[in-house]
């Protein structure tokens, strides 16, 4: 039987995908441009079907701590917000990284700093992939470029979070969140039973049984020698993630002399730029990181041996460009083009910048 094609916003796709993943809970606080996520969940009333909890917390800080609590019980729990709200959640995210708790966090980011604007932005790249909260931790970061990927990355994000006991984030923007496109939603999965959680998440605080010691979930450790061991363990885990979980997409890269590197909404615009440039005989391809952390460093380094230059296209003042330059070890020119504060460039604009690099 053919799967049913639906037509919806990226934000709505995230909500539907969360229910179908068998998520146990969503905790959030409304903010543009992602409010449709909780609105859709409230409309769908999953508590009457799968038993999923949907709760509007009193603040973003409360929401992320509800996620901490749910995750500590081994539950598949999530939250979503937009940039200013995600800033408020950073303490909780750092605590979750320190307590090794899995959860899904969605940032439909908007222009900043401060309250900024509600228009699309990728200015939270640094915040997401370099930490955000305090301490030496990493956040698994997925960057969907379509409504279909908004749906798909919910399962991917949860799966990675639970594979590594680490929070994962979907980092997107108002273009992908507000846009309507075709989407095929995943089939409905049942929520995990308590027995399954006890088996798969033996660390979960579901009530102590006689055959084991007490489970303690905390990021606090006052003995520095133990704390160092914890950190070494975290770092080893991060290296495993970097080794095994890098995702990217290459379009027209085989014969490319130049690459555009862009993620999310800007990869969509850049794809059009590549089509336009190819018509003019410029051999350019699009390299799209799907995981922003772990970043596809090795793949870009390999390209640096055979191409002449890279243009990154970002909705910020040049953030990912730093990681691209590090990846290619400055062997080739890496330029950046972007717009700020909620302005989205047109493909024409980007083509002009690409030609400056090609010249």
């Amino acid at each position: 039987m053919a799967e049913e094609v639906k037509f919806m916003k990226g934000n709505e796709a995230i909500a539907h995908a969360a229910i179908r993943y068998g998520a146990d809970g969503y905790f959030g606080y409304p903010i543009t441009p992602q409010s449709e996520i909780m609105e859709t969940l409230m409309d769908e009333r999953p508590w009457e079907t799968t038993g999923m909890v949907v709760l509007q917390a009193e603040s973003e800080v409360a929401a992320i701590n509800m996620v901490y609590g749910g995750a500590a019980c081994g539950k598949r729990v999530m939250t979503s917000s937009s940039s200013p709200g995600i800033s408020l959640k950073q303490e909780g995210i750092s605590y979750m990284a320190g307590a090794e708790l899995p959860a899904l966090i969605v940032n439909v980011s908007r222009g900043g700093p401060g309250l900024g604007t509600i228009q699309p932005s990728q200015a939270d790249y640094f915040q997401t992939v370099k930490g955000g909260g305090h301490g030496d931790y990493r956040l698994i970061t997925l960057a969907p470029n379509s409504v279909q990927e908004m749906a798909d990355h919910v399962a991917l994000g949860f799966d990675l979070a639970f594979k590594y006991n680490n929070p994962a984030m979907i980092l997107t923007d108002g273009v992908i969140g507000q846009m309507m496109e075709k989407v095929v939603l995943p089939p409905q999965r049942p929520r995990k039973t308590e027995e399954e959680i006890r088996r798969e998440q033996p660390w979960a605080t579901l009530g102590k049984t006689k055959d084991r010691k007490r489970n303690i979930i905390t990021s606090l450790e006052l003995d520095p020698s133990i704390m160092e061991e914890n950190n070494i363990r975290f770092q080893a885990k991060y290296r495993r993630i970097e080794e095994n979980e890098v995702l990217y997409e290459e379009t027209l890269c085989e014969d490319a002399e130049y690459l555009i590197v862009a993620f999310g909404s800007q990869a969509r615009i850049s794809q059009k730029v590549v089509e336009m440039a190819r018509e003019e005989g410029i051999k350019v391809g699009l390299f799209r990181p799907i995981t922003l952390w772990p970043f596809p460093k090795k793949q870009l380094f390999e390209y640096s041996k055979k191409i002449k230059g890279i243009l990154t296209v970002e909705l910020n003042a040049g953030q990912m460009v730093e990681d691209v330059r590090l990846a290619v070890e400055c062997r080739i020119p890496v330029e950046y083009y972007g717009r700020l504060g909620g302005i989205v460039p047109t493909p024409d604009e980007v083509l002009v910048e690409l030609k400056k690099l090609v010249k």
Partner: protein, 180 residues
């Protein structure tokens, strides 16, 4: 086949919903579709616009340099989008509130007095359907049948009794539109 369309006007004129109906119509014809709105305070009376792309192939950028068709429903949108119509493209505008009519000579320009007619006919809420009818008359990118299916999908069921009234408005719009 690829149609890149912008619909722009005041919030409350049904700009976004008209785009949605067009998008759903394309969907009924198995086309690839993107619908990208301006979002935010526009829906409370500022300017609102939506970009709709209907295509036989996969769509790359939902954000465009220029459009095959621009449907312009107020002066600020005329100022912003007249220059963004591709040479040889189509500009449709509602005469109401337009103080500076379009001047380009390398595009086809059509006027539809939908606002006045809809209000004279006591059907001002279906204003956007008059405009949609005008569009379909000069640029039949989707069939009327698909539009009616699209309307059915985008309207909540409690409003399905309004479908015949919308069909009438679309057909009326087809009569109203005139080339300048």
């Amino acid at each position: 086949m690829k149609q890149e369309i912008i619909i722009a006007g005041f919030g409350g004129q049904g700009v976004l919903s008209m785009g949605k109906i067009l998008a759903y119509s394309g969907l009924s014809e198995d086309k690839e579709v993107t619908w990208f709105p301006s979002y935010g305070p526009e829906q409370r009376g500022g300017t609102a616009n939506v970009t709709v792309i209907l295509s036989d192939d996969k769509i790359s950028s939902p954000i465009l340099n220029a459009y095959d068709v621009a449907i312009i429903l107020n002066q600020p949108s005329m100022d912003k989008f007249e220059s963004k119509v591709k040479p040889g493209g189509i500009l449709i505008f509602d005469g109401y509130g337009i103080t500076k009519p379009p001047t380009r000579t390398d595009i086809r320009i059509f006027r539809i007095d939908a606002m006045n007619t809809a209000s004279n006919e006591g059907n001002s809420k279906a204003f956007n359907m008059y405009v949609l009818g005008g569009l379909l008359k000069i640029c039949p990118m989707v069939t009327l049948e698909s539009v009616m299916q699209g309307l059915k999908k985008s309207l909540p069921e409690r409003h399905h009794r309004l479908l015949p009234m919308n069909e009438t408005a679309i057909k009326r719009g087809m009569e109203l539109i005139e080339q300048l």
